[in-house]
Subunit: 337 residues, 2 copies
Amino acid sequence: MTAVKKKGSQTLMMADPPYIASWASIVGPKESEGPWVKDFDLIMEDYLWEEASWEKTETKMLRETIKLALSNQNLQPQDAELLLAGDLLNQIISSSFAAREINIPFLGLYGACSTMAESMVLGSLLIDGGYFERVVASASSHHYTAERQFRFPSEQGVQKVPSSQWTATAAGAVVLQKSGTGPRITSVTIGKVVDMGQNDGANMGGAMAPAAADTIKTHFQDTGKVSDYYDLIVTGDLGAVGMTLLGELFIQEGVMPTPNFSDCGVLLYDGLQGVDSGGSGCGCSACMLAGPLLRKMQNGEINRLLFVATGALMSPISTYQGESIPGIAHAVAIENI
Amino acid sequence: MTAVKKKGSQTLMMADPPYIASWASIVGPKESEGPWVKDFDLIMEDYLWEEASWEKTETKMLRETIKLALSNQNLQPQDAELLLAGDLLNQIISSSFAAREINIPFLGLYGACSTMAESMVLGSLLIDGGYFERVVASASSHHYTAERQFRFPSEQGVQKVPSSQWTATAAGAVVLQKSGTGPRITSVTIGKVVDMGQNDGANMGGAMAPAAADTIKTHFQDTGKVSDYYDLIVTGDLGAVGMTLLGELFIQEGVMPTPNFSDCGVLLYDGLQGVDSGGSGCGCSACMLAGPLLRKMQNGEINRLLFVATGALMSPISTYQGESIPGIAHAVAIENI
């Protein structure tokens, strides 16, 4: 008995919903200044964490987050059967080099900032399908590796515009299991690429909002649920500007003028960190989920969560060549059942 | 009833082996000079194919290959339920922009030159698990996009060493189905990252060979098969240097001193194209599979094929920072049954 999908539907309902049996998150100094410091497993004191480069630090963050997520239920890396991971760096080196140390079968993913949801979509389907007992799904980002790769070297001090977002220094990992205890993944919606022609690289939230709207609308159409079914619907990293645009798209399409909606990019910081429109990066939604949000599910403060991580599928080269910024969003329904 | 995996095994045996119902490949001018010109669906007359940049050409190649693979059984993109794709470019833009036009649910992958196998591993599991009826798995590379991203601008005329490989200008796509006709995927082996400390970026075949050896050895251990079970075992893109090293590793480990073994990087060209050690790039194994090799399976010349695409999980940044080159390989068993 495996997951069920109606013909033409983008949503897969789990037959035997996999458990999120444990999780972990590691964040940087700035991320610890927000409202959630007690909900992360480890706070880095600086951006290098005793490594020789920011890239090596990001690898260490992801590797240690994966190990922490497993050790939170007294497991070792070799107790997991598959690692699904991705990040923002060219050729996803943070993930590949983390996987080298973790030393279990590995499949690398790239969904930009939607990667945490992508890894959970695949991980939960592979468990529900009966292939694996235990899979780790994970993602990371580091502010300074992303800045120098996608934008300008930080040392150059280029001024930001208000719609720009701060790539979070953060990693998150969840341990998905066929059996155990914990919140369960009940359905997933796999998104399409949506491109409304936005080409402003300093407004990624705006570029991703149409994809988020499309996936959320599709999730409700496919499942027949209404928006207040969930205690919280949380997008990945639209930031304040993107979240406002998403609200407009919702009202335009008559989907969801409800109050149970927020965004990890808005939630991660508290407005005093100079992050302009909010947080971004694979790690933003990854650490918010594998920290504060799953903690709230564990405590019963949230019982039904729709996690919708969003990604902007551009590169500096595609932008130089005049392309607009396509977005994608995948939804993961997590419930205490 | 879904796939079966023994505890501790990296190999998943399909319960109801998915069909490779159709496929397609598109290659560049140099690739058409080799022995397989009649086996590809489309030969590009030049490296731009009426596009303004090589990157846009690679997107077009992948998009048109996906459409051709579907149209080879009179289907349209909307007849497929999921697109799995990846490529070598930063942020896998070839795949993301191809997915924008194909406009079906999309999951982006990165496994370097192992990506074609990675996409088939996931696609076949998701079909065998009962989630989808029809999934497209695909990958691409373009010589000139890869050269300027990973090495030097071609205009600079940097001299190559004999162990270097030629990134193929090629794309391949297979249409995986729950029902239909054609060769079937009977099992898959998901590889681990293997790093023997090789750090010569001009000898990628050498860096990947240990991963290929590990995955092939694991496949035989897990399945209890012996190497001459397969009519052909074909690695992704080790090239002549890497293939020689793999042969040595096999003999060292007592695995397979058999003649039914070759490599897509060796096969793609015929030695007259100045490609040094052979072909490479995601498209090398993708076009060889979704062209000559599946054609031979269709004709019954090959009835049992083990396709083992290999990837070097480095980036220019990781190399600059002194890292060695980790490799990975995934195996896909394809049989006429």
